[in-house]
């Protein structure tokens, strides 16, 4: 459905997307997980033809995005992190306006309204100004507006960012429903748990996919537990721990985070190493690993091999 080859985009010195190759199959949810600034949005913006890539190509159904932007645009929907709604138009006016941009007749749009209101439950609010909706409802309206023209490909950029858990679950239910209708969905997120609902997941870090596969296998590969130690002499502590624990150590300021499978054992171990090196421990506790930490862990593990 979507074929990306050698895709590269630079912003000055920084490489946002670094020679990416991947394909997305028809009718799947393709999740892209990565910390902020990893290039997820840039990638989606290139697929949706807002940004022009420096190198590489994107084809949707065999049609090149850059050569035939208008052909692609009719089949595609892109929903940015903050969907651009006309806040001074009502819910219904927004839907009609975006539908009209795709040359749908008023009658077609009206027919489609039932379905759209059905899954979004925005029906009762059809006369409300978009600016007066809550965050979750705005996000749903954004989705509805991008779905008026029944696209074949749906690109979602962190659609559930800043949305409450209930709305988030509802939002994913909608995505599954669309999937049932054969829509291909590419979704980016900063939450690993969300990515697990996709058919396939790519881990994106510094413009590259460091992993691509089924959510389960990626989950298994990641270490689940982590200890955070705050110390008074972080540099000495880092050097000493590195000797014993290898590359699973990440230091920021005077806190050191270490991946582990066996929390109790490692905790004792660390305490001993640090006291041998005469480093004072301010606190030591178990914390859930941050996505970025897991990524660094995977990369350092790869480099060690």
């Amino acid at each position: 459905m979507i074929a990306v080859t050698g895709l590269t985009k630079r912003f000055g010195e920084m490489i946002a997307v670094d020679s990416l190759d991947f394909t997305v199959n028809k009718g799947e949810i393709f999740g892209i997980v990565g910390p902020d600034g990893s290039g997820k949005s840039t990638l989606l913006r290139m697929i949706s033809s807002i940004l022009i890539p420096d190198r590489g190509s994107i084809a949707i159904n065999g049609v090149d995005v850059q050569e035939n932007p208008f052909l692609i645009k009719e089949k595609l929907a892109y929903m940015p992190q903050r969907f651009g709604l006309y806040e001074d138009l009502t819910v219904e006016e927004n839907i009609f306006f975006f539908g009209r941009l795709f040359l749908l007749s008023r009658r077609d749009i009206r027919k489609r309204l039932d379905t759209l209101y059905g899954f979004s439950r925005l029906g009762p609010f059809n006369d409300r100004l978009a600016g007066k909706l809550s965050g979750g409802m705005k996000q749903k309206l954004g989705l509805v507006c991008s779905l008026v023209h029944t696209p074949e490909v749906l690109l979602l950029d962190e659609p559930t960012n800043g949305v409450d858990p209930v709305s988030r679950r509802e939002f994913w239910d909608i995505l599954y429903e669309l999937l049932g209708q054969g829509v291909t969905i590419v979704v980016t997120t900063a939450y690993l748990d969300e990515a697990e609902r996709s058919n396939r997941v790519a881990l994106m870090y510094r413009g590259r996919f460091i992993r691509l596969g089924k959510p389960k296998s990626i989950r298994n590969e990641m270490k689940q537990k982590m200890l955070q130690v705050v110390v008074n002499r972080p540099k000495i502590a880092e050097a000493a721990l590195k000797k014993h624990e290898g590359g699973k150590i990440i230091r920021t300021g005077n806190s050191i985070r270490i991946f582990t499978d066996t929390v109790q054992k490692t905790r004792r171990h660390i305490k001993q190493i640090l006291s041998n090196n005469r480093v004072g421990i301010i606190s030591i506790e178990e914390v859930p690993p941050r996505l970025e930490d897991s990524f660094i862990e995977i990369i350092t593990r790869e480099e060690a091999c």
Binding site: S49, E74, Y78, F83, G84, F96, F97, L103
Partner: protein, 396 residues
């Protein structure tokens, strides 16, 4: 697919634009408020005419002739006698305070000298702080002197007029224009096109150009930048709308509003302020169409260089103020240095104001104004093409 404009898309753009403008309190305020307020403020407040000026007199002659002269002044309707003074020293303080603008010094022996056939002198000092006003008062003085001394003593009175700025010691000539009336010849002025020489006849038509520019540039720039600010621009870009459809959808509504505003303001100028309209209304609006092309182009251009509505506002003034200064709206172009005059040649507002004034006051039309119209057409189409291209490049 690409190339031709799809009317349904265009119509829904225009409808949406009107809905947004009419719903946004700030935008709705801009539509008709400022134009009407501006025309009314200018109509009443910007008045360069001198209707009344305070006069002080030193009358050393104290004859029936000198009293008659002073009565002639006060009876003219332009001068109000503020006080009689006794010395020039008093005058200095009165003028510095701004109590008195015009001062007449009639020397001892005026009537005696004239009656016995000798030349006599009358000194007039005018506050020249406001040079325009000073010149107007000076003209009034000359006229009154002329008509008072006409027939009998024509060649015997010498009026010395001194224009003086406050702060300069009394009696120091700023600009001195003295004259001796020559025998038998009398110059009678008559101004064509604006016979009463009222400044509103000159300014109000100019204001029409001013208002049309303000409204169309501002609305176009703001509404495009607003799309970018609120993120809707991205949705427009990913939709299959073509740049040309978007640009037309963004300009047609504001051109229409510009026309309506121009019509309202023109009607107020004619009916409320009694400015005579001698020309053809159709020709005026025909020319306005091409002028509005220029302003829409400027609005689009501003939208391509501004990211926020505040930036758009700042850039707007960057364009608007020079456009007004170099348009001949208030400051005559012939008085500018030649290098600066060149700037005015590329200023569409200059041509438009010439056309408005020509149609309003002279009643001329295409036969006389075709050159200005042609330049407007060329500038309008060129600017619109360039800025539309600039905007559509940013969209693709």
């Amino acid at each position: 697919m690409k190339g031709f404009i799809r009317i349904p898309v265009l119509i829904s753009m225009i409808k949406k634009e009107f809905a947004q403008v009419l719903r946004d309190n700030r935008m709705r305020g801009i539509l008709f408020g400022p134009p009407i307020i501006m025309i009314i403020v200018f109509g009443y407040a910007v008045n360069m005419d001198v209707n009344s000026t305070d006069l002080a007199v030193i009358d050393e002659d104290k004859s029936s002739m000198s009293r008659g002269l002073i009565e002639k002044f006060t009876g003219s309707g332009y001068f109000t006698l503020y006080s009689y003074l006794h010395s020039e020293k008093e005058l200095a303080s009165q003028m510095d305070n701004g109590n008195v603008e015009t001062f007449i010094h009639i020397k001892r022996g005026l009537s005696k000298n004239i009656k016995s056939g000798r030349t006599s002198e009358i000194q007039v000092i005018i506050d020249g702080t406001d040079s325009n006003r000073g010149a107007v008062i000076s003209a009034y003085v000359n006229e009154i002197m002329q008509s008072y001394f006409i027939d009998k003593y024509l060649n015997r009175v010498k009026t010395v007029i001194l224009l003086r700025s406050s702060g300069v010691a009394a009696g120091t000539p700023g600009v001195a224009s003295g004259f001796v009336m020559s025998k038998g010849v009398r110059v009678v002025d008559r101004a064509y096109f604006n016979p009463t020489l009222l400044s509103k006849n000159y300014f109000l038509p100019g204001i029409i150009g001013f208002i049309v520019s303000l409204i169309t540039i501002m609305l176009t720039a703001m509404s495009i930048v607003k799309e970018r600010e609120s993120g809707t621009m991205e949705q427009i870009i990913v939709s299959p709308i073509q740049p040309i459809e978007f640009i037309l959808g963004k300009t047609i509504p504001f051109a229409m509003i510009g026309f309506i505003d121009m019509f309202v303001v023109t009607i107020i100028t004619i009916l409320w302020f009694d400015v005579s309209f001698k020309g053809n209304m159709l020709f005026l609006f025909f020319a306005a169409f091409f002028y509005i092309l220029c302003t829409l182009a400027v609005g689009i251009y501003i939208s391509t260089i501004s990211r926020t509505q505040q930036q758009a506002m700042m850039s707007f003034f960057l364009f608007f103020i020079p456009a007004i200064l170099f348009s001949g709206f208030a400051f005559p172009i012939y008085a500018m240095p030649e290098t600066i005059q060149i700037i005015t040649y590329v200023n569409p507002l200059m041509y438009f104001i010439i056309i408005i004034r020509g149609v309003f006051l002279k009643g001329v039309g295409f036969m006389v104004l075709w050159k200005e119209l042609l330049v407007l057409v060329i500038i309008g189409i060129t600017l619109l093409y360039l800025s539309a291209r600039r905007l559509s490049r940013r969209m693709e």
